[in-house]
Every structure is written in structure tokens, then in C-alpha cells.
Symmetry: C2
Subunit: 171 residues, 2 copies
């Protein structure tokens, strides 16, 4: 690709429309590797990942329709409460892992979007995928080639009003 | 630099020992820009950032001593509950922003580490920095040149046992 890491970080935007061509196993592996190299509280790595495609992904989409349809694959990031050493921090571990997936996808020319698994859908997702009771579906990230030219960053979201020097409201 | 985004993502590790030479305003700006280009729930961007250094940072460290001492600056990432549109999701917004700070720091040859602000310290931090009541300190990220050669990734944390295909335990 050739873009710098800062360009990847600042240029990433959500992709919600996908081409149907498949994503390779290598691509999925690379995204999962990026996810698992995220930091976590006390290095607990309280995450698990389910790769979805085809009929199973379609069933998932019926349960949690806020995830866009049309991608050839998706990664379901799950909290592993059995691995959690710092209570309540699996959410942060999984958020960092999810962000790494989004960035790795963008770095590879793929599109992705972070979509939440609503708490009231967790039981149905757990049933569909046979997840143990201490595994909590967190976010579903559809992955694919962006349709057309894909999402473009319209501009930086940097907002100087959200930056405070040494105390609130100081510039 | 020259490292690819995937190399930055996979090679980032926590830095807890820092050289004392200062971090430039440009570096801090670049990290804040990366933070604010993170995704957020419904694009709510429910975050605020306080840049700490010198005496104020030292006072912060007395309150929350799990953050390593010795860096010339730090970024305190805060939840902005007043901006939250999806209740409970500011934590995820801030986690994504924090991860972007860590990656941008590594891309620039700087060291950083994600340290939590314990909930029972939030009131004291709020008092020190004059934060409004709806601003919740989330994570403090000290920033600086790594001491010695800095943190190195000993190896990938990819773990095939945490990957499930179409359902739990399927490989």
C-alpha cells in the first residue's frame, strides 16, 4: 500500500457497502493477528473471535440487523469474562482489538465497520454460535472490499475545543 | 520510520520507562489528531483530552500512581458523558481513541502505555483539573522517548485457540 501508519489511522473511515468478492484466509489471519496484538488490562487478553460468513453470517444478521449486509465475511469480537483479571476491563480490551482490526483492514485496502452487538441480542447470538456463558458478543466487524471507491475521509476530525492544557478549558 | 501500518500495529508494546527529553507540540498534536480520528458510537465522539506535564502531571501521579513516572508529558483521555448519544458507549469511544494514541506514538518513535484511571480516583482527578461533572477521566497515557532502546515486541500474540470458525470451538 505504502501509506504511513499515521495516514492509515487518520484516513480510516467506516465502510458499509461491500463488493461480493471473497476475503482471503490470509487477510482474515492478518486482521486477527492485529486484534490480538492490542494492549489489554494486565495483559489479560480477555477476547475471543468468531469468523462468520455465508449462512451463519446471514443468521447473525437476522438477529442483529444493525450490522450491514453484503460483506463476504465478518469478525465477531467477544469478551471472554473467564480470562478477565481486572473486572469490567474486557470491554476495553475488546475495543482496542476491534480498533486494530479496523486499522489493519484499511491498511490492506479492505473496508470494515465497528457495529455493536446490543446486549438484548447477546443470548440469541450465543445460541446461534454455541458460545459458552462467559463469552459475551461485543462487536461485529463486516470485512470486504469496499463497493465503488470505498469510504474516504472527508477531513480530519481534530477539534481544538476538545484539547485542554493542564486543566479544563485552558488552551 | 518507514514501518508499514501492520508492522506498527503488531510491533507496538507498552513503554514504562522514559527519557526526559521533551515531546514537541507537533508530536502531541499528531497524537490528539489520531485519537479524534477514531470511530465512535453513532459518531458521537464522546471524548475530551487533557495534556499534562510538569507540576500538574506530578500531582496527577500522586493521585493515580499506577501511571509510570518520568515521561515529559501525558494525555489524559476523558469520557464526555454530555456528548454521549448511545448510553454506555463513551467507554468504547475512548478506548478506540486511546489505542490510536498508542499506535500514533509508536509510529513516531515515541513510547506510551495505556494506564487506567481507577473509578475511586476520578473525583480527585476531576478536582485537580477542574473537570466538569459529566467528564469522567478514563485513561492516562504517558508519552516520551523510550529509555534505552524502548519496548520491543517479543513475538506476536496471535493465538489460534482464540479463533473460531462459524461457531464456538470450530477450526
Amino acid at each position: 500500500m505504502g501509506a504511513s501508519a499515521l495516514e492509515i489511522i487518520n484516513g480510516r473511515r467506516s465502510t458499509r457497502r461491500f463488493a461480493s468478492d471473497p476475503v482471503s484466509e490470509t487477510d482474515i489471519h492478518d486482521l486477527l493477528e492485529a486484534a490480538m496484538n492490542a494492549p489489554s488490562a494486565i495483559n489479560e487478553q480477555a477476547w475471543q473471535f468468531v469468523v462468520l460468513s455465508g449462512a451463519v453470517f446471514e443468521e447473525y444478521l437476522k438477529i442483529n440487523p444493525n450490522t450491514p449486509k453484503g460483506s463476504p465475511a465478518a469478525i465477531l469480537v467477544c469478551q471472554d469474562l473467564g480470562a478477565e483479571k481486572a473486572p469490567g476491563y474486557a470491554v476495553q480490551d475488546c475495543a482496542a482489538a476491534t480498533q486494530n482490526i479496523l486499522l489493519a483492514a484499511h491498511a490492506k485496502g479492505l473496508g470494515a465497520v465497528w457495529t455493536t452487538v446490543f446486549p438484548d441480542k447477546a443470548a440469541a447470538v450465543r445460541s446461534l454460535l454455541g458460545l459458552p456463558g462467559n463469552v459475551v458478543p461485543f462487536a461485529c466487524v463486516p470485512i470486504g472490499r469496499p463497493a465503488q471507491s470505498g469510504a474516504k475521509a472527508a477531513g480530519s476530525r481534530f477539534d481544538a475545543n476538545k484539547v485542554h492544557l493542564q486543566g479544563w478549558g485552558k488552551r
